[in-house]
């Protein structure tokens, strides 16, 4: 039966099971890769290569563009795919022969040229082949939604919205969603939930205005930042340093950021904003296109993707880092900025108040940008929370504009603007004497455009420790760790030491947590909301003891960690570790001892002890051996599990994603992966609750290890690496000790080793290494420079 074109066929899909991306450029291909990262099959189509274009005539392959894009994705750094095998979920094709592939897609995202006519023609084509009720979205960053659907059938407009990803789609958490007047409610809900939960994005609803939220404010900020640096005579290093740490902004600041996104992109963005923003918009007044920038672009200095930008690595001068002089336009070696404000201002407020040119720069750039942001609500978004979210997720600011104003103090900020003669927007004025956010009965509230406060509502399924902490007192707390009740009988062990490095306080809290949870609670989640789960053990403590030869103290530190982690493994309740970001060394080892790991997809876990001349001493070797032995896919025989762990640990391999961590055995096959960071705690808690029912602690396992023959075998391999120049002399000493532990020391193949015996081997090897000068030199160097010493 032919469908009546005027009646709706089918509601929006409840979720997305199959997707398509049209346009295999950097954004389209990156979006396709990320959809594949979520385990969703995706079609990637682009045009048939036009004749005459480079290589086009030589290839009969009509899908060469999309196929080439996937090949390029596989080589992109940082990696677009969380695991190379995800590329298998991407089906490539072209827009002439393969439109039929779109027939069963629930969602089609368009990421083609920013050209209205091209997009509209494509939409008409898509509308002919897509299934009824499927959702179509555009990744446009510049064209208003209302213009995109003009002249298209009503049903198309109903299924259409803007989903604006940021580059690179895997890593940038922001996704701006713009909904048209005609867009169906269920389509919006499906997309928002899918992008949030499955793709792991921070979904921010924006109004249909030019540049949406993040780029509207971001472009103003960048423009202001480049203008002011030239006007006030700051070097690019000074400008970026002032913008960076004091304001909680990545150290790339303004100029480093432009280098990162590409100088050549800026004129496009500003042209489009100039054309679409009202003549009265503050951006119009500050727009400038300096000759120097145009020259850099023409000469190929388009930023990191080109020959360099405001900064460059001068390879002819032995990889010297250089910066451009904004006055002469000539590159010169990078100079460490020496402004009084940089030395004295600890936070945004102090920087804004500082009398030197750094302070003046901060006032001109941040003062006006924050004021601009305050003037844009509710024009660009319904509330300030959306604006703060967008800047945090899209520009990696630690605090959004309104959070920053709160940190500075609303009244102080207003006074600063008035002193500088900058108009104070009404919303800011309305906040005078108050703050944009407040805590009311343990709940976070924000100032609405009506001038009243409303609770900040988290997306469904989001559980944040930040919120738990606002409304409750810890079950236990010390300087480095706390224990929280996150409801339903589950406790959360939080680290909050510097960089979440593991010290005696954390080890003590592990013991305390076992006691508290053991008395009537159901389970424990190890989780925190730092940018990294843990960078590893606090080796500074070990170094201090080693420097005064307090060897028993060092050994005691090792033994205490072993004991605490082992106790965690055999608790009568389930323990779930929920890492995100880096989980290194001792941070990795605590995860290895948990009953289950629920990892954020962007988890970089690894045993990196060899980098500082040590071996994993808190049961990391032991747990990795157990994992490798249990791995059903390994080849038979006594050597493969030993060799596999040796290969991973000896070179301090760190997983590039949670998916990669499964391959490296840090995660077990049935450990969970959460795409959205904000859902991690809820998922880990659910995992703990599911394990709690009828929970039995694991049975102790014994291992048969090959002993000295394996040490000899592994040392042969290390010897060859040293010869090849791939390993240093001390690398071979460290690897030799690691080999002893992983081989089971002096054991015989026929003997069984208990976990405690392997822990004893770890301890002994650790102590032998920590007493070597070369290991101490490594530790010292790493603590001082943050970099490994290759000795």
């Amino acid at each position: 039966m032919a469908a009546n074109k005027n009646t709706r066929q089918g509601a929006a899909p409840a979720t997305i099971r199959k997707a398509a991306v049209i346009g295999a450029g950097v954004m389209g291909a990156g979006i396709a890769a990320h959809i594949a990262n979520a385990g969703i099959p995706v079609i990637l189509l682009d045009i048939v290569p036009p004749p005459g274009k480079s290589g086009a005539l030589n290839t009969p392959n009509r899908s060469a563009i999309a196929e080439g894009a996937v090949q390029k994705l596989l080589k992109t750094e940082p990696a677009a795919f969380m695991h190379p095998k995800n590329a298998g979920l991407v089906t490539t094709g072209n827009l002439e022969d393969d439109l039929g592939l779109l027939g069963d897609c629930d969602w089609i995202v368009e990421a083609v040229l920013e050209d209205l006519a091209v997009k509209r023609a494509l939409y008409a084509k898509l509308d002919g082949v897509r299934k009824p009720g499927s959702i179509v979205s555009s990744n446009t960053s510049t064209i208003p939604l209302a213009l995109l659907t003009e002249g298209l059938p009503k049903r198309f407009a109903e299924d259409f919205l803007v989903t604006h990803f940021f580059n690179p789609p895997r890593y940038m958490r922001l996704l701006e969603i713009v909904v048209g007047a005609a867009t169906r409610h269920d389509a919006v809900e499906t997309m928002a939930a899918f992008c949030e939960r499955v793709l792991g994005k921070g979904v921010v609803r924006c109004n249909d205005t030019p540049g949406f939220i993040a780029n509207r404010i971001g472009t103003f900020w960048i423009q202001k930042g480049t203008n002011a640096a030239m006007d006030l005579g700051l070097t690019v290093e000074e400008a970026d340093a002032v913008m960076g740490r004091p304001f909680g902004i990545p150290k790339t600041g303004i100029f480093g950021l432009v280098d990162l996104v590409g100088l050549d992109l800026m004129p496009h963005v500003s042209r489009s904003l100039q054309a679409t923003l009202a003549a009265t918009d503050a951006y119009q007044a500050i727009f400038r296109a300096p000759e120097l920038f145009a020259r850099l672009i023409t000469e190929g200095y388009t930023g990191r993707k080109g020959k360099g930008g405001f900064y460059r690595l001068n390879r002819e001068a032995g990889k010297r880092k250089e910066a451009i002089d904004l006055v002469t336009g000539i590159y010169r070696p990078v100079v460490k900025p020496e402004l009084a404000s940089l030395a004295e201002a600890r936070h945004a407020g102090q920087m804004l108040a500082h009398p030197d040119k750094g302070g003046a720069y901060a006032r001109q750039v941040m003062g006006e940008t924050l004021a601009y942001a305050a003037s844009l609500v509710p024009e660009i978004a319904a509330d300030i929370v959306s604006v703060d979210q967008a800047m945090k997720l899209g520009y990696a600011w630690k605090q959004g504009p309104f959070e920053l104003i709160d940190a500075i103090g609303v009244d102080a900020f207003i006074a600063g603007l008035e002193a500088a003669g900058v108009p104070v927007p009404p919303l800011l004025r309305a906040a005078a004497g108050r703050s944009f956010y407040r805590i009311e009965s343990g709940r976070l509230e924000y100032l609405t455009t009506e001038g009243s406060y409303a609770p900040v509502v988290r997306a469904p399924g989001v559980l944040l420790l930040e919120d738990v902490k606002r409304r409750s007192e810890p079950l236990a707390k010390n300087a480095s760790a706390s224990l929280w009740d996150i409801g339903d009988g589950i406790a959360c062990l939080e680290f909050h030491s510097k960089m979440n490095s593991i010290d005696d306080q954390i080890i003590a809290m592990v013991g305390k947590a076992i006691g508290i949870v053991g008395k009537g609670m159901k389970g424990l989640v190890v989780y925190n909301e730092g940018s990294n789960f843990s960078v590893g053990a606090n080796i500074g403590l070990a170094l201090f003891a080693a420097n005064i030869a307090l060897w028993p103290n060092v050994e005691e530190m090792v033994a205490a960690g072993q004991k605490a982690y082992k106790a965690l493994k055999y608790t009568p309740f389930p323990v779930v570790a929920a890492p995100s970001g880096m989980a290194l060394g001792g941070g990795c080892e605590i995860c290895l001892h948990a009953d289950a790991i629920q990892a954020h997809a962007e988890t970089y876990i690894g045993l990196v002890e060899t980098g500082v001349g040590l071996i994993p001493g808190w049961g990391g070797c032991k747990e990795m051996l157990l994992r490798a032995t249990a791995n059903p896919k390994r080849p038979k025989g006594p050597m493969p599990p030993v060799a596999q762990v040796f290969e991973t640990v000896s070179v301090a391999k760190v997983a590039k994603s949670a998916a990669d961590a499964k391959e490296l055995l840090f995660l077990r096959p049935d450990d969970g992966i959460t795409m959205n960071r904000d859902h991690l705690l809820a998922d880990a808690k659910a995992k703990a609750l599911s394990l709690a029912e009828g929970y039995q602690p694991p049975e102790p396992v014994v291992l048969r290890l090959p002993g000295p023959t394996a040490v000899a075998g592994l040392n042969l391999a290390v010897h060859d690496y040293v010869k090849q120049g791939k390993a240093t002399a001390h690398d071979s000493v460290v690897a030799g000790e690691l080999a002893v532990v992983l081989s089971g020391g002096d054991t015989d193949m026929l003997d069984e080793l208990t976990e405690d015996q392997i822990l004893a081997l770890e301890r002994a090897a650790f102590m032998r290494l920590v007493k070597t000068g070369a290991t101490l030199a490594r530790i010292e160097h790493t603590l001082e420079t943050g970099k490994p010493l290759r000795n």
Partner: protein
């Protein structure tokens, strides 16, 4: 002495391990197809076979059990044909020929298939479970020294420069390219089919674009300060080979095509840290044994495990380079460890006839410090 002859030679195409077209073919399947192909081409009655002797350097995993027996089953040899697997590392399948020759002298059989196989894709070099004796490893490390390191030692001790090594590799590829273009491998190659591979009938390791220029860009593979690169080492290879060894009398009685007669065999030990010099000691021994001089040898197949050791042996023995590896060597064709011995012996036999020479020498080096050599005589 009963005259013993080679009355047939066949091999699979040789392909790069892991990335080549035979990577997904099990080694037992690979060898079985070569054995079946040899039987078909040589027209030997398989019921007459005494033994199937298969050389393999790492007889474990898919090359494990008694892989020779399994290859016999897969090749549908009569159940009465015995089978044994033999390991002398790279010399394994030349050793299988020597064992057949010895058995024949004791009247312990008339016809043998002497084969070799190695899937370096599917069974890694050093095996899945390398478990060296820790005391020996400590006291006599050369016993377990990596082959690359021995190649560097040879280059140093015998003054073989990087350019000279590269020249040998360039020449090896050029000869293989020419031989391939002239169809000179067609008669020896048995096409291999696999469920995941389709049919593979040509060699995969030969690189026609090999030049001093392309090779000089490579980094040293085994020693940061060394001269041996991936381009001057034979590649990790998948392949199988087989020759038919029988009494001359049997061959004549059954009208088989005799390629060459076995004149002499020898094995010898040398220092394991320069194992690449094995051909020099084995060849000196075999020449003494036969009373021949190196100039009497018209055709030489010397395995190119590494260019450094190949060149050093050629120099030490005073071999005329124009007589060496006429259709290219292992640097170009590849070196599936267990299969190389039967390949170079079979090749030497067929070259002897093609080139109309009187004597041929096939010789190779062996990890652990050994050499093996065979002299063939025109039949």
């Amino acid at each position: 002495m009963k005259p013993v002859v080679i009355a047939g030679y066949a091999r699979s195409p040789f392909h790069f391990a892991r990335k080549g077209e035979l990577a997904r073919v099990r080694p037992d399947d690979l060898a079985a197809q070569v054995v079946a192909g040899l039987i078909e081409r040589s027209k030997v009655d398989p019921a007459d076979l005494e033994d199937l002797i298969v050389g393999c350097a790492f007889p474990e995993g898919e090359q494990g059990f008694n892989v020779a027996r399994l290859i016999g089953f897969l090749a549908h040899l009569p159940i009465t044909v015995a089978a044994t697997t033999v390991n002398r590392f790279c010399g394994s399948s030349m050793q299988s020929i020597h064992m057949a020759a010895g058995a024949i002298q004791l009247d312990a059989g008339e016809v043998f298939i002497c084969a070799g196989v190695e899937s370096m894709s599917r069974v890694p070099m050093t095996g899945f479970n390398p478990m060296p004796n820790p005391h020996l490893a400590a006291e006599f490390p050369a016993a377990y020294m990596s082959m690359g390191e021995t190649a560097e030692n040879v280059a140093n001790r015998y003054q073989v420069s990087r350019e000279q090594q590269q020249a040998m590799a360039v020449e090896s590829h050029a000869k293989a390219v020419a031989a391939q273009a002239a169809g000179k491998f067609k008669d020896e190659i048995v096409a291999i089919t696999g469920p995941k591979t389709g049919t593979v009938s040509t060699d995969g390791c030969i690189r026609p674009d090999t030049s001093q220029e392309t090779l000089s860009g490579l980094k040293p593979a085994f020693d940061a300060n060394g001269t041996v690169t991936a381009g001057t080492s034979s590649p990790l290879t998948d392949g199988a080979s087989a020759v038919l060894v029988c009494t001359e009398e049997y061959a004549k009685r059954h009208g088989l095509d005799i390629l060459a007669r076995l004149k002499a065999i020898a094995v010898a030990g040398c220092d394991p840290d320069v194992m690449g010099m094995g051909p020099a000691v084995a060849t000196r021994k075999i020449l003494r044994r036969t009373g021949l001089s190196i100039d009497d040898i018209g055709v030489v197949e010397i395995n190119e495990a590494f260019a450094s050791q190949g060149l050093a042996c050629i120099r030490e023995l005073g071999i005329d380079p124009d007589r060496v590896n006429l259709d290219g060597g292992a640097l170009a064709l590849g070196h599936p460890l267990g299969a190389t011995g039967a390949r170079i012996t079979g090749k030497a036999a067929s070259l002897l006839r093609r080139e109309g020479k009187r004597y041929a020498l096939a010789t190779q080096c062996i990890g652990g410090g050994q050499g093996i050599a065979t002299i063939l005589e025109a039949a």
